[in-house]
Symmetry: C2
Subunit: 354 residues, 2 copies
């Protein structure tokens, strides 16, 4: 921290700096904003005055005229919260995935001097609040993480005209770019690995089938098996949580006790599945091979460590931020031809579970 000038009673304004430097407000403004057409000598003077006074531009005043806020919203859209909520925590927040997304976004946003607001939208009231917020022009753009297919927010956001990008392909087509991993390819990778391990009685624990990502992982799983001549495979649906995965594994096991391989559509669920398997006395990976999806902390926390499909979450989030920044600095008319969605390639990470 540089030694700040003693905090005056009244905050320092452009006016003060101008007076101190003996120039006009306009010149100070130019220097502060890096306009090139300023006499070097004057520039020095102004810079000294800024330093001496401890001047910092007032954001609201600036926004009022520039109509930019240099901030974006990270919007977490979740299904309606439970009616009686003791302190409530969205599922998203407790998912380690969320933290990785935040980290990736901040990696790009911070160097660009763009702040990030965290908004949770999970009911009609908060949706109104959000839309109103957007219309107030309080943010320059938004990153939307939507967790269910029926979510009206992607469309709402697209219609608002605010620059926005989506984490994950939306359920219904929406004129907004998104970033995601090739879900089908990921599932295929998992199945191929299971097959290469000699597994033939393969099942899957899928994510919520109202989410595109979950659907595609299931489809990819089926396609890969079909290509290998297997037209029917047992599966159970869960909600992307560890507990859900554990329960699904119990159902799967009850239905097909002879299972020798399972593809679980998320590491968190796989962690639960592993618990179930362990308690059922199933040898891992000897009796049953398990492949997860994500390559999150959870994968390494598993016992045995999880063989899984890696999704470069941080890089994807960073790309999302870049996409958004690009859209923001684009005149609205050009936005049609803006850089489009990006699909990342998944990679299999081999550990102990398969």
């Amino acid at each position: 921290m540089t030694a700040d000038a003693p905090r005056p009673g009244r905050p320092v304004t452009l006016e003060d700096v101008a007076r101190a430097a003996g120039v006009s407000r306009a010149t100070v403004s130019r220097v502060v904003n890096g306009t090139p057409t300023v006499d070097p000598a004057l520039r020095r003077k102004v810079e000294d005055a800024v330093e001496a006074t401890g001047y910092v531009p007032h954001q609201a005043a600036r926004s009022l005229v520039t109509r930019r806020t240099d901030s974006v919203a990270l919007v977490i859209s979740e299904r309606e919260r439970r009616p009686v909520a003791a302190p409530f925590v969205g599922r998203m927040f407790t998912d380690p995935h969320f933290g990785r997304v935040v980290g990736g976004l901040l990696d790009v946003l911070r160097p660009a001097g763009v702040q990030m607001l965290l908004m949770l939208v999970d009911d009609e009231a908060s949706r109104r609040q959000f839309v109103s917020y957007v219309r107030q022009g309080h943010v320059d753009g938004a990153v939307l993480v939507s967790s269910h297919a029926a979510d009206p927010l992607p469309r709402l956001l697209a219609e608002s005209g605010l620059p926005a990008v989506l984490s994950g392909r939306p359920a219904r087509e929406v004129p907004l770019p998104y970033v995601e991993v090739d879900q089908r390819a990921g599932a295929r990778l998992a199945v191929a690995h299971l097959l290469s391990r000699g597994r033939r009685r393969i099942g899957t624990i899928a994510g919520p089938q109202d989410m595109p990502a979950a659907q595609e992982r299931l489809e990819g799983f089926r396609d890969a098996l079909a290509a290998h001549g297997v037209t029917e495979a047992p599966w159970a649906e869960a909600d992307f949580t560890r507990a859900g995965g554990a329960a699904a594994m119990r159902r799967l096991l009850a239905e097909r006790p002879d299972l020798d391989g399972v593809f679980v559509a998320s590491d968190l669920m796989a962690q639960g599945a592993l618990q179930t398997l362990l308690r059922a006395g199933v040898g891992l990976p000897h009796d049953v091979s398990v492949v997860g999806f994500d390559d999150s902390e959870a994968a390494v926390a598993c016992e045995p460590p999880l063989t899984t499909v890696r999704q470069p979450v941080e890089e994807m989030a960073a790309e999302l931020a870049r996409l958004l920044l690009a859209r923001i600095s684009q005149p609205e008319r050009e936005r049609e031809s803006a850089p489009g969605s990006r699909v990342f390639r998944p990679v299999l990470v081999e550990r102990g579970s398969a």
Copy 2:
């Protein structure tokens, strides 16, 4: 969503509403801000005009005069980032603890109409950016989550005069209220449980000893043991990560192969410790009992599930938000006598590991 008026080319201002309603700007402002002294008939008229025009107040214009932004910063202060950082993710973000804090804060902030900015401070540059941001008056207050003792931010924040609160007691005294759990009491709970299980050769895996929370948990552990006549107990230090916990457990085990109980200062580390124990062929909880700290998702994800010291993170975060809101709406002079720090009582949650 109410049907919005067609988006006009020019954004709707107070002026427009005033004209439409046939009143002055001041009256519209009063209605919008809920000033009671407005004729009901006029109020109706204005409300209709607002609805008809789709008016939404411009935040920047409002802030410029009120000097309030209705937003606060959640500041994550971490140690310097590693020099060569591929997409970087702060440790904090991947810790499930973080998500719970966010959830708890939002629980209080959202109903109050207060937005939350997420700021990561992890080097000199971002610290400058942050201090400057604060001085720009872009937020009304800040919640600081600081992860190491040498952190200059708590003091910096206190000196800035911005209303602020701390998650966790700061290493060095700072005139800012904080919220935390009674760390010593928690550690005592853990030790008492271990003793009640007949364990006598008890060790601990402590957190980073430059963090007050970690220090106190270690001290509480020692006190409890001392009260029981045990004056020396083996311990290892780790960094609150799973991997760190696993490594610490290896060291502890090498040093004292006859250990029969261990208190691990966080669930995440305990998860790692359990892995180490399992791989060493130690029976849980038969041979060794383990008690964690936090009661996070990680505790339930463990095999066997972790007996742990519950920390009401969400409630604590909510309290933090309330404390901050209270300070914000307080004239600066009264802030001395503001509601002070709050210490929550921990509870032991019994599961399978001890």
